[in-house]
Each structure stands twice: as structure tokens, then as C-alpha cells.
């Protein structure tokens, strides 16, 4: 790491920027596929966010260490090999310890490899920065990613199935006795898109410099 200390202003910015102003999902448009597909329930969303956290921060450090050795014409293949090796590790760990969640995530664990958030950060950040900063950038971006995942999954699980993390919240509150019904639509794929769309709407109306021209 360079001269400035771990918690200098610049480094803190690396961590906090991706949470809002430069969020990977809603602003950089990276890593959307998985964000939409596995947000039916909170549990897979949390597992996915953690897996991405591990893969992204380690891959960022590894690529950043090798950044002077990688020829630019074949850099994508190098990225993919690094990421794929890490994802295989994560996949085996998930299969060993949380088998049911890993079944539920099915192909989406494998698809972390092609999750553009990882390739995008490697290309845009790790190739040009020292390992310490790259690690912070990896952490920050995976938090930004995880936050969106958890918000979307929270609403979809609560409104669609009436549970949170598998716990039947609405049933305990007794809402069903008042004639409340689950909105089955929230579980279907299209509503994930609409939920993220509304989230973006909310974020941009709060933060006007993010508004696009058309």
C-alpha cells in the first residue's frame, strides 16, 4: 500500500462510493443478471452476496499483483482463469457446507465467473492500482452489490411469500386473518426488474446528479 494510511479519506471513498454514487448495479450497470435471478428469497441473496465478496476482493488483489505482467491482448482470458479458479473454490465450499442453498442457486454460482461486476472492476480498477487499494475497491463494490441484492430480496420475499429469511413474519403479525393475501406476482421474474427499476427511480430522484439525458 502507498504512503497514506488505511483509513485515509481517499481510501474511505473507495469503500463508500460504490454504496450510492457509484453503485455497481444501479449506476455502473454491472452484475445485473445474478442480482435479478436469485432475489426471490433473502437467504440465497445473502449467500450470493458473500460469494461475490470473496471472489471479487481476492480476484482484485491477485490481478492487481500481476498487473504489470499481463499482456493487454489476452487480459480477458487471464481474468477469466483467475476468476474461474476462485469460483470453483467457492462452489465446492458451498456444496460442502450449505448444500440446499447451493442447489437453489444452481447455475448462478457458476455464473459469478461471467458476472460483469468482477470483470468490470478488474478491467477498470485492479489493472491500474496497487493491491491494497484494489482490495478496498473490491470490498466496496461487493458491499454496493450486496446491498441492492438484499433490498430487492427483502421486498420480494416479504411481499411475495410473506416471510423473511424463511421466518413467516406476516403470519405471526396475523395479517392473514385480516384478509391479506400474498402477492404471487412478486415471485415471478419480471417483478425483479420492476423492483430494481423502482429502486433506481428512488435513488435518482434523491441524487439528481445521476439523472441521464434521455
Amino acid at each position: 500500500m502507498s504512503k497514506d494510511s488505511l483509513f485515509s479519506k481517499k481510501n474511505r471513498k473507495l469503500l463508500s462510493d460504490p454504496l450510492d454514487d457509484n453503485n455497481p448495479i444501479t449506476v455502473q450497470v454491472l452484475g445485473i443478471c445474478s442480482a435479478l435471478a436469485i432475489t426471490v428469497q433473502l437467504k440465497p441473496a445473502v449467500v450470493m452476496a458473500l460469494s461475490v465478496l470473496v471472489v471479487l476482493s481476492v480476484a482484485n488483489v491477485v490481478v492487481s499483483l500481476m498487473r504489470k505482467m499481463i499482456p493487454s491482448r489476452i487480459r480477458i482470458i487471464v481474468f477469466l482463469v483467475v476468476i474461474a479458479a476462485l469460483v470453483i473454490l467457492v462452489d465446492q465450499v458451498l456444496k460442502a457446507f450449505v448444500y440446499d442453498v447451493s442447489k437453489e442457486l444452481s447455475v448462478f454460482v457458476g455464473l459469478i465467473i461471467t458476472n460483469c461486476i468482477i470483470c468490470g472492476r478488474l478491467e477498470a480498477f485492479a489493472m491500474a492500482n496497487p493491491p491494497g487499494k484494489a482490495f478496498l475497491d473490491g470490498l466496496g463494490n461487493s458491499f454496493g452489490y450486496g446491498i441492492i441484492l438484499i433490498i430487492v430480496a427483502f421486498f420480494r420475499e416479504l411481499l411475495g411469500a410473506g416471510t423473511l429469511y424463511g421466518y413467516p413474519v406476516l403470519e405471526k403479525l396475523g395479517l392473514y386473518n385480516l384478509g391479506y393475501e400474498n402477492n404471487g406476482m412478486m415471485i415471478l421474474p419480471p417483478m425483479a426488474l420492476v423492483t430494481v427499476g423502482v429502486l433506481i427511480w428512488w435513488q435518482r430522484s434523491r441524487n439528481e446528479k445521476l439523472i441521464e439525458n434521455n
Binding site: 450497470v29 443478471c33 457458476g110 419480471p190 426488474l193 430522484s205 439528481e208
Partner: protein, 205 residues
Amino acid sequence: MEELANIFIKSIFIDNMVFAYFLGMCSYLAISKTVRTSVGMGAAVIFVLGITIPFNYLLEKWVLKEGALVWISDDFLNIDLSFLSFIMFIAVIASMVQLVEMVIEKFSPTLYSSLGIFLPLIAVNCAILGGSLFMQERDYSTIIEATVFGLGSGVGWFLAIVGIAAIREKIRYSNVPPALRGLGITYIITGLMGIAFMSFMGIKL
């Protein structure tokens, strides 16, 4: 023959890559600003899927599956290399994409410059790897079935991106709330298109 037609229709409409599984969303959102570029991108995806899926099918069948190496010697009956499939599939895909990139650069420089940085990103387009992983999960029995599945998924992706590009070209003239412009409205339109595509689910094949 009927079986193949079923797989083709199913992979285009019912199991549509974009609307049912959200695969390839990143490039789908980033390149769908004009119909012209999205046609190029869609064609590239059909092409790459059509090549990589049969390739990966052979790899899966003769190398990776449990007991697949038996053609070398009977000692390999219990070897299961399927944990290596991610890295093998992505290697095949990345090299294929590099090939396609060189071919397009040679024969159609205009298309090459309009696709810009997104061409190498086909390699990290989840639709491509997703296609191979679904092929592995669904266990197609012949290479022809796998190829038809690949082409069908590509066509489905093509339809989706051309459709959204056409809508985005029109929506430029309408008065969208400022905070919803660009990305937000595209998400919501895609959601509505997804709801429309869900009506194909009722088709029994």
C-alpha cells in the same frame, strides 16, 4: 424432428434467456440504445452460442462427465471431472470469442467499431456461459439437440434485445419522469416485456 422443433421453440419463447433467467442483462442494457447495434450484437450472440454449445457438449460428454474418460482406458471409470467444467467452458468460450472478434474486425470494420468494447465482453456475457451450464444441467441426449438449444437461446436473446432497442428508440420522444430516464425505464419496460413473454408458458409442447 418434432423433438428438435420443440427444443427450439421452447428455448426461444418459454425459457427465454433474458426474460426467464435474466442472462446477458448487462450487454442487453448497455447496447440496446439503437436497433442497428443491437442487431449486430444479437447476431454475434447467436453465432457464439451456436458454436460454443456443441463444443462444450463434446467436452462434457467425452472428458468431464463421470465415467466419460472410459474411452481411454477402463481404469478411468470412476473419474468425475465435472468440477472443472466452469474453467473448461469459459476457456472454450473466451477463445471462440477472440476468433469471432478477429473475423468481424477483418470483414466488417463498421460493425466492429460500432460494437466497440462490447465484443470482448461477449466472453463475459452470462448468456453464453449460462447456455453451456444449462446444456450440462438439462443433459441433452445428442449433439444436434444441444446445438438446436444453443441456436434457439441465441434467437431468443436476439429477439429480446432488438425488441427493447426498438422501444427505446421510440421512448426518446416521450416525456419520462427525469429520475426514471435511461436505465430505470428500461428496467421497467423489460419487466413488462417479461410479463408478456410469460403468456407463452401456457403452451404445451
